[in-house]
Symmetry: C2
Subunit: 190 residues, 2 copies
């Protein structure tokens, strides 16, 4: 079996490039607490018996962004993995059945009323973001999405504003499980 | 690992409830020819060494249907598995990179110009259809989608009209691999 080239694994345990600074169960069941997270392409690390949990997701085509929004976003979006992006926040979340039963236009209207695009673009290029989809994998995953945010320490306040606006939005009313891991890159610490 | 409850396997080989009546490589590389296909929830049958190929896909939330279209479709859509639906057509297909690079509104406009909804609804309730997504699984799959159509023999001409209209549409210009397996339920044959 060849892995999907867009697959990423998030393995929580006692090793990994990212040191857990803080973790919080925002809504619903927590994950077991860990000291480190390894974020890697493919399924590397899954067999590591040091790990407490292992989550998977694939990056995919955009689902809601329009052509005009993409034209605004594309020149501003930074890549994951910038040298100075030593802080990361990993947010696995799940949306409820009523969200998934909605049609595309209903979901898109909720994104629009939630100012998803407008709030997101304010955080660029400070905050890099990679969205991973988990809901349509062959194995049942505990979350629908994993969003990874990466930024330099001086951009922490930009991230705090972004996440506060997201959580205050109509879109977030459909989230029924959310966890948050605040991470710092290990090479910065040692 | 618990399988996704929306996962289905399509296993081509020398056994399975569906007898292959005809198979055709419509575009791109063919699949190895087989005499039977087993279509099952989960990954049952994958380990069967009689099989020539094994494809997987998950059913998922709708991606393009609007609220008003859903209101028209929902009362007409028949389930998969009707007793008299003894014919099936399985169509694995892949869309090209230019399709996946488009934004949601661009893809939706192509569906609209392709009369995807109007052509589809004409075939209801004669033709049952189940769409399986393969592109965002953890393992690399050779196709992006598998569509399964099921119908009674007297509805064959309805299916022929539907598939001809689909293949003649703008949407189909983005398809770069397509295979077709015409199937008949084994309990009808023996």
């Amino acid at each position: 079996m060849i892995p999907n080239s867009r697959l990423y694994s998030f393995v929580g345990g006692s090793s990994g490039l990212w040191k857990v600074i803080e973790e919080r169960a925002i809504l619903g069941d927590p994950l077991p607490q860990v000291t480190n997270v390894a974020i890697r392409p493919g399924t590397a690390g899954d067999a590591d018996n040091q790990s407490a949990w292992s989550l998977h997701g694939v990056t995919s085509n955009t689902r809601y962004v329009t052509q005009s929004e993409k034209a605004e976003l594309a020149p501003l979006e930074p890549p994951i993995g910038r040298d100075d992006a030593t802080l990361a926040v990993m947010i696995p979340l799940r949306k409820d059945d009523s969200w998934w039963a909605k049609t595309q236009d209903e979901r898109r209207e909720i994104f629009a009323r939630s100012a998803h695009h407008e709030n997101g673009i304010k955080a660029l290029p400070a905050i890099a973001r990679r969205l991973h989809h988990c809901r349509d994998l062959a194995t049942k995953e505990p979350f629908d999405f994993i969003t990874l945010f990466e930024f330099a320490p001086e951009s922490l306040s930009v991230f705090e504003t972004l996440i506060a606006e997201l959580r205050d939005s109509e879109e977030w009313q459909y989230i029924d499980r959310e966890y948050e891991l605040r991470l710092e890159r290990v090479d910065v610490l040692y």
